[in-house]
Amino acid sequence: MTGYLADVATLARKDLRLELRARDTLPAMLLFVLSTFVVFHFALPQGSGENAAQGLLWVALVFTALLGLARSWAPEREGGVFDGLVLAPCDRSAIWLGKAAAVLVFLVAIEVVALPAFALFFEPLDGAAVAGVALANVGICAVGTMLAAMAAASRTRELILPLLFLPLAIPLVVGGVGSAISPEPGRYLLFLALYDAVFAIICWATFEYVVTE
């Protein structure tokens, strides 16, 4: 068990180090999410109601996450490193978990700026809304990293990832928006937690088959 977690930590650390060095994905995601907020301001007609903005937050988050996910496996593609990781004696699911953990860190880093910016531009977010974002992050990273690995095997890489991801992201958006606007956020938060648990288990169990021939 400690070996497994050590492998996950090794891999996640590698991704953080690579991003700190290249510094290309995080700034792009940050700029993207802020630009999207400004677009939303112009896209929302007057009197749209405060709930509309909450919904748009989730659109912004999902598409920003997609931006980051599209490049998440790029370092592994460049040197053919995927083979190297698959050859290593570590559990293949550790490869997925390490990458998903790193993507989660990136997403949270973006949100640390994006959520206050949203509160500034549109309206404040309460604890339930933030909890919804936090829970949905796990689902986005778990499923997104998995699908990004699948898309990496496809000819139409960047094109296909959004198509694979969006239907699976719909429940997350429902849960997230629900926890923000509903007077009873508990149900939605529970739903998000269940989504995370169910899909994380599936990803964990099937990643092996995605990377082996």
Binding site: R17, L18, P75, G79, G80, D83, G84, V86
Partner: protein
């Protein structure tokens, strides 16, 4: 160490290997030769455990962590340094006395001075040498090397020759090459793919 009977590999309807037989005993040195497209790379990938056969039997004795592989691609992160790359693999392979072993290999392949440089700054020959370090890092029982002399300059080739000569008795080798004559003195068996 490796035994294959009637080994087949298909990618969709394209048949790459059509019934290959292979016997590689412990301590052996098998040289695989053949023209481009004859399936050398596919055969080596199967023997390294990177792909599953479509037909026939394939028995590979060492487990995943005891196999070293060198492919056409470097399997190295371009934006990490030589040291960081080897440290990553060292941790994943649970190499004992990791730092000492990495230092020793870098020295043996003439890369010690470049240890803190990113792989993206390396020449093609240096990348190949580092890839060889990676393959040898965990002191594997079985080494599967796909055209290891590619891109190596005279000095690099000499270093590799020396390594192969030193290890050829104790470890098992499966090497694909365009130039079987170079390895003729070390080879204990040969396989020519059509």
């Amino acid at each position: 160490m490796i035994q294959a009977r009637g080994l087949q590999k298909r990618y969709g309807s394209k048949r790459v290997l059509r019934g290959v037989d292979l016997d590689l005993p412990r301590g052996g040195f098998l040289v695989v030769s053949g023209p481009n497209g004859s399936g050398k790379t596919t055969l080596l990938r199967l023997c390294a455990g990177l792909a599953l056969p479509s037909g026939g039997t394939l028995a590979i004795e060492p487990e995943r962590g005891r196999i070293g592989y060198l492919g056409h691609e470097s399997l190295l992160y371009r934006d990490l340094t030589a040291l960081e790359n080897l440290d990553l693999y060292g941790r994943l392979y649970r190499v004992p006395e990791r730092r000492e072993r990495i230092g020793m290999l870098l020295g043996r392949f003439g890369l010690w001075d470049a240890r803190n440089e990113r792989v993206s700054t390396f020449s093609r020959g240096m990348v190949q040498r580092l890839a060889l370090c990676r393959a040898f890092l965990h002191d594997p029982d079985l080494l599967v090397l796909d055209e290891p002399f590619t891109a190596l300059d005279g000095e690099g080739a000499e270093l590799l020759d020396r390594e192969l000569a030193t290890l050829s008795g104790e470890r098992t080798f499966l090497v694909a090459t365009h130039d079987p004559h170079r390895l003729a003195p070390l080879a204990s068996e040969r396989l020519a793919l059509a």
